[in-house]
């Protein structure tokens, strides 16, 4: 199961966070800082999976941006690692035209992951609701 998805920059600032289990607001910042510190401290040739407390982190770096996913031990790390890439490809496909914004990335993520489970991976289907909304707004 997926516990959370984080997008952070190299300075350790959170760009996006989505939790699939309840974590108190007050504890999130500390958790995120911890998680980022873990991932940033790792070298390029090291494993992309890290053990953190009672769960695992899968992270992937895109230039200055890190995407970190927290998962339980029963999850398949490599499939999550590729899921991150799929997510990034979807973002790339969508935002090549429009400016990035927080809400739209969230909407895309909501199409892909719900309740900690992968619910859609087909790129065109992930984007279908959002592009429909865009068309309606434009018209």
């Amino acid at each position: 199961m997926i516990k959370f998805v984080l997008m952070v920059n190299r300075q350790g600032q959170t760009r996006l966070s989505r939790y699939y289990h309840s974590v108190e607001l007050s504890r999130r910042a500390a958790l995120e800082a911890d998680v980022v510190r873990y991932c940033l401290s790792r070298k390029k040739d090291q494993c992309s999976f890290v053990e953190y407390k009672d769960f695992k982190l899968v992270y992937r770096q895109y230039a200055a941006l890190y995407i970190v996913v927290g998962i339980t031990d029963s999850e398949n790390e490599l499939s999550i690692y590729e899921l991150v890439h799929n997510f990034v490809e979807v973002l790339d496909k969508y935002f090549s035209r429009i400016m990035f914004n927080l809400d739209r990335v969230h909407i895309i993520l909501d199409e892909m992951i719900q309740n900690g489970h992968i619910v859609e991976t087909n790129k065109s289907r992930i984007l279908a609701p959002l592009t429909t909304i865009d068309k309606m707004v434009d018209s």
Binding site: S22, A63, E77, L83, D92, D103, T121, I133
Partner: protein
């Protein structure tokens, strides 16, 4: 590999840092957020950030509450609030506005409103109730995108209690022409299943429809539900195996549309999901596993492309192959596949390979031998996670011969690990291993545990010191060994106390004091006075906790003998007899008295006493009198914490709950104690067992386990396994497949070290693997070896014996009707596929079933379990009907036993038939029991023996009756049985049948007074609430509805007061269920309570059905 396809998405980071292009149309709305983000990025201190955000939040707050703010602006404000909350600053003022935005906004604004709600609120937030109406409206919208949004938010979060309000609408969407709506509806139902499985119990067949949906997306969505349900009860879904296999086959074969591909691999995540489902279904089930061998083989072959995602699939595939019933050529292929993983230079693959190997070695330890050099290399890997996973692997292959080396490696890791969680986990594992093999290496055991206690410190699980002490005190079979072990412990602790005890963790000090108190007398050259002064030193240390101090005082009490020790003990007891800590004070007084009275001390604390069995009255029944006196004196009855909490919640909650003043609570003391005792008694009987049970102590190392381990393992080891010095050669043979690995390492000397390490790590595995190889040719031992995993050689021998005996036993027990029960559900026909083996249905009956029916013989008093037919056979005369075709139409009514004929019985339903037998059954409701009557009709031309005893001549009917009771309620109870019989030719045969009885047949009225009802109500802990439809064709809807229910379900209406009514019933024999009904806004608000789990839920289902059918 992945680099080939990995695109460096340089654009993305710049997008995220929001370098906006001025003049873009979209910017006006995001620029404020952009400014905020940029502002924060430039800041250097946390303090500045806080100031900036607080300022921002104030600005947002002002704007959201302004009436002039447009929805478009509101949307932009919400995004800014989301951003602030994401950074950890609460923006609770905006929650209500998020709900408003979802309600009033259009399209994108609405979506952002829903998004904000799902980010801001958690499932139990009360504001979520305000969203229900919006969701309802959007679900009914003609605009598809709005329906989509509503379904999305519902599948993320929805208040559990409001599910009935939208359930029909969501169900309706399952038939929507658009795939996206159907898909989202399935996901919404999945959410409902997660939070309130009972609410969607009735639509299981719709899940099946979704599974067969023509759109692959809808089918994929339904797999989430199935994975969940199969995890809970794999037996109920075995019939779907061929469907899952076919789906996987189609996916692997590339039958899905191209856009489901990810880097040319067809729907990889779907494949993974299916493989997980298959492994759950095929586990311990040969026939189901056989269905999937072919597709697994295909999956292994197809996934050849060198991409991460194919490895992810392969990993899942290998896991599946090793989980289901084994097939040798598949296992071979899977093992080869693991080789590709662990030998890969890619570190991510290596990691996953180790993880797979860790999983696999539990089934087949010899695989570790194949990869031993790789494992050794991974053990020294600079990346800690690889090292850690390797240790995990070694932990699984530990045996009596390699345990010291493996523990040493683990302790090494513990010294460098900084993560608390890892430390706790590893310390637990080391302790587990050490306790498994304590006797063989006395000194090693104590030393290892010393390291565990010093490294694990106070973080480790509290059961570790407990079980260590238990092990020491209970001892083993040899008195001499026990003495040695204890003496060694004492010997190792004395220098520690002489050194710097201040550095030792508290838990360790507690262990030390206990051991010294009990066993320091074993060391003859040690004066008790010295031990006492060492212990007294602990009391003076600043960082000693009061818990430790009380352990120390206890130890001193055991040691003091008067005389020279008197001064020390006197001083200590004086100091602490005035302590503020009551426990310490108590201990100090004990010390004082017992040190002055050696006789009393010898009686209270006898030296070397074996641990006695203690009986603990966990029901505290000895307090009953005190309780009843207190109650008689006017004290309030005890309420368990959850009930108090519930009542507290009710007083705060929005909904108006029943039970205000209408029901006087009985203050009569005796009725309360009467009512409470049974539950308490049943509690204590649940905790049966005479010995003191120390909760939470893992009994890693049981007596039997140990015995089984020692004798055969040692013997076998001596015979089969060469000594560690000889073993490298042997390992070399086993490693021939991967001989290139060693040659890669340049210097021969470290290589030799590694070889030696390998030989010590993997010693003992070879002998085990030889057994497994032998087992492979015959399926049975192989399968059993799996079950006996981790128990070593000896226990698997024992296991083999067990299976053989259990294989023999069934035929003798065949006579008994096997009672079984499968999951209720409405799709009975799909459940018809029954377990094929006798032994299997036995296990199901005792195992994971949702309900169990207990079969008793009603009218065969004093008989053996094998049912005597004589009493039951009513008519066995030669049948007048010579036409077999007509037999089925025979009026079986006439065969009903005379004593039952006057009672109402269900329709006699045919169960099953073969060429010689025809089975029918019905159930008869007696006042205090439910009788299952089985009609066995001989439709052949010859007489049949032994059904189960006696003879049934040609074309006649034998009748058996059995009284049924329900142990765990389910909506429908299913009885499964077998009739065994013998044809004249002498061949024994059996015929299986199953029969379904609705729970209502077990329900009887329960006559109680309103007072009794009131007290009972408070003591029942399982409840459920729901709104039911009222019957409105009458002047008094409440009475009419209650009467209808009474008639249909045999309930007892206790009292009706105004708009409220209370009703009681019982599940045979005497499991009560109380029902409170109140008319509220055109609905009947029903609240059910019972001490039996699931009973309220099942009953509410039947109430619903009963009212619908009117």
């Amino acid at each position: 590999m992945s680099d080939v396809v990995e695109k460096t998405l340089t654009a993305l980071p710049s997008l995220l840092s929001l370098d906006s292009h001025p003049g873009s149309a979209k910017l006006s709305s995001t620029s404020k957020l952009g400014n905020l983000i940029r502002g924060i990025t430039e800041l250097t201190s946390k303090h500045e950030e806080e100031k900036l955000i607080q300022h921002e939040l104030l600005a947002i707050k002002e704007q959201v509450s302004s009436p002039n703010t447009t929805m478009r602006q509101m949307k932009e404000l919400m995004v800014r609030s989301i951003y602030c909350e994401m950074l950890g600053y609460e923006a609770s003022f905006s929650y209500i506005h998020a709900i408003k935005l979802a309600q009033q906004g259009t399209v994108l604004e609405k979506r952002v409103g829903y998004l904000a709600v799902s980010l801001f609120l958690n499932e139990s937030h009360e504001l979520l109730l305000l969203l229900v109406n919006t969701v309802l409206k959007d679900l009914q919208s003609t605009n598809l995108i709005e329906v989509c949004m509503a379904l999305t938010v519902v599948s993320q979060m929805f208040p559990k209690d409001m599910i009935p309000a939208i359930l029909p609408l969501v169900e309706e969407k399952l038939n929507h022409p658009k795939e996206i709506i159907r898909r989202k509806a399935v996901l919404a139902l999945y959410k409902f299943y997660l939070i309130a499985p009972n609410q969607v119990q009735h639509i299981h067949n719709k899940f099946r429809k979704a599974l067969c949906d023509k759109d692959p997306g809808v089918m994929t969505a339904s797999l989430h539900i199935y994975l969940q349900m199969i995890q809970e009860n794999p037996e109920a879904y075995k019939d779907l195996t061929p469907s899952f296999v076919t789906i996987l086959k189609q996916v692997v074969g590339g039958k899905l549309p191209m856009d489901f591909n990810y880097h040319t691999v067809p729907a990889p995540w779907l494949q993974i999901q299916l493989l997980r489902i298959l492994s759950l279904l095929g586990k311990n089930d040969q026939s189901t596993s056989e269905v999937m061998y072919e597709v697994l083989d295909e999956s292994l072959q197809r996934a050849e492309m060198n991409h991460n995602i194919t490895y992810a699939i392969l990993y899942e595939c290998v896991k599946c192959i090793y989980t289901i019933h084994p097939k040798s050529d598949l296992l071979e292929k899977a093992a080869k596949c693991i080789g590709n993983f662990v030998l890969s230079p890619k570190i991510n693959l290596k990691y996953l390979g180790l993880k797979a190997l860790t999983y696999v070695v539990q089934q087949d330890p010899k695989l570790a031998l194949q990869h031993q050099m790789t494992i050794i290399e991974c053990l020294d890997h600079p990346d800690l996670i690889i090292k850690r996973e390797t240790l995990e692997l070694l932990f699984r292959i530990t045996n009596g011969q390699n345990v010291t080396v493996i523990v040493e490696k683990m302790l090494e890791f513990l010294c460098i690990s900084e993560d608390d969680h890892t430390t706790i986990d590893l310390v637990g594992k080391v302790a587990e291993l050490a306790e498994k093999y304590p006797l063989k290496y006395n000194e090693w055991f104590i030393e290892t545990m010393n390291t565990v206690f010093s490294l694990g410190g106070d973080m480790m699980q509290p059961d570790i010191p407990n079980s260590f002490l238990k092990l020491l005190s209970e001892g083993f079979d040899s008195v001499e060994e026990d003495r040695k072990l204890r003496l060694f412990a004492v010997n190792s602790y004395i220098p520690l106390l002489r050194g710097e005890p201040g550095k030792l963790p508290q838990r360790f000090l507690q262990v030390i004091s206990w051991v010294l108190g009990e066993y320091s007398h074993l060391r003859e050259d040690l004066e008790p006075a010295e031990v006492l002064s060492l212990l007294a030193k602990l009391l003076d240390m600043k960082n000693s906790s009061s818990e430790t101090k009380s352990w120390v005082l206890m130890a001193m009490t055991k040691l003091c003998k008067g005389g020279a020790d008197a001064s020390v003990t006197q001083e200590v007891s004086e100091t602490y007899s005035s302590s503020l800590d009551t426990v310490l004070r108590q201990r100090a007084h004990e010390l004082q008295y017992l040190s002055q009275d050696p006789e009393l001390r010898a009686r209270v604390l006898p030296r070397g006493a074996k641990p006695e069995t203690l009986e603990v009255d966990s029901s505290l029944s000895f307090l009953d009198r005190f309780v009843s006196e207190a109650l008689a004196a006017g004290a309030a009855p005890y309420k368990p914490p959850h009930q108090r909490q519930e009542e507290l919640d009710q007083s705060k909650a929005l909904s108006l709950e029943p039970y205000g003043l209408s029901l006087p609570i009985s203050m009569s003391s005796c009725s309360i104690t009467d009512r409470q005792s049974p539950t308490l008694l049943s509690m204590s009987s649940g905790l049966s067992g005479d010995t003191l049970k120390l909760d939470g102590i893992k009994r890693v190392w049981g007596r039997e386990g140990y015995l089984a381990q020692r004798e055969p393992v040692e013997e076998a080891a001596q015979v089969e396994v060469p000594s560690p010095i000889q073993s490298p050669g042997r390992q070399g043979e086993g490693d021939s497949l991967h001989s290139q690995t060693p040659t890669q390492t340049p210097t021969p000397e470290p290589e030799q070290e590694k070889q030696q390490l390998a030989s010590s790590l993997f010693v003992g595995l070879a002998s085990q693997s030889s057994v497994s190889l032998m087992g492979k040719s015959e399926p049975m031992p192989q399968r059993f070896r799996r079950k006996a995993k981790g128990q070593g050689l000896g226990s698997s021998f024992i296991a083999n014996e067990q299976i053989s005996s259990s294989l023999i036993s069934p035929p003798s027990a065949v006579d008994n009707l096997l009672c079984n029960n499968l999951l209720d559900s409405n799709n009975a026909s799909e459940l018809a596929e029954q377990t094929s083996q006798l032994s299997q249905s036995l296990t199901t009956a005792n195992g994971t079933c949702h309900a169990e029916a207990e079969l008793t013989e009603s009218d065969t008093k004093g008989c053996n379990p094998a049912l005597r037919r004589d009493n039951c056979v009513v008519a066995a005369g030669p049948g007048p009907h010579n036409d077999p075709g007509r037999l089925t139409e025979v009026c079986l009514d006439s065969y009903l036993p005379a004593e039952l004929s006057g009672l109402s019985h269900s329709e006699i339903a045919p169960l099953c038939a073969n060429q010689s037998l025809n089975l029918s059954a019905c159930h008869v409701q007696k006042e205090d029991s439910l009788i299952l009557v089985v009609f066995i009709m001989n439709s052949s031309e010859s007489a049949i023996q032994q059904i189960p005893a006696g003879e049934v001549t040609s074309y006649s009917v034998a009748v058996g009756q059995y009284s049924l009771t329900v142990k765990r309620p389910a909506v429908h109870v299913e009885v499964v049985g077998t009739v065994s019989y013998q044809l004249p030719a002498g061949t024994s045969q059996s015929l299986q049948f199953s029969y379904k009885v609705p729970l209502t047949s077990f329900i009887r009225p329960f006559v109680v007074s309103t007072e009794e009802y009131g007290t009972m109500w408070l003591s029942f802990s399982h409840d459920t609430k729901q709104n039911l439809t009222l019957i409105n064709d009458n002047q008094e809807p409440l009475t009419a509805t209650l009467n209808a229910l009474k008639k249909k379900l045999q309930l007892h209406v206790v009292e009706v007061i105004g708009m409220e009514g209370i009703v009681a019933c019982r599940l045979l024999q005497d499991l009560p269920c109380l029902m409170h009904c109140r008319v509220n806004a055109g609905w009947l608000a029903v609240w059910l309570r019972s001490p039996v789990p699931d009973l309220p839920d099942c009953l509410i289902y039947h109430c619903q059905r009963a009212l619908q059918s009117l």
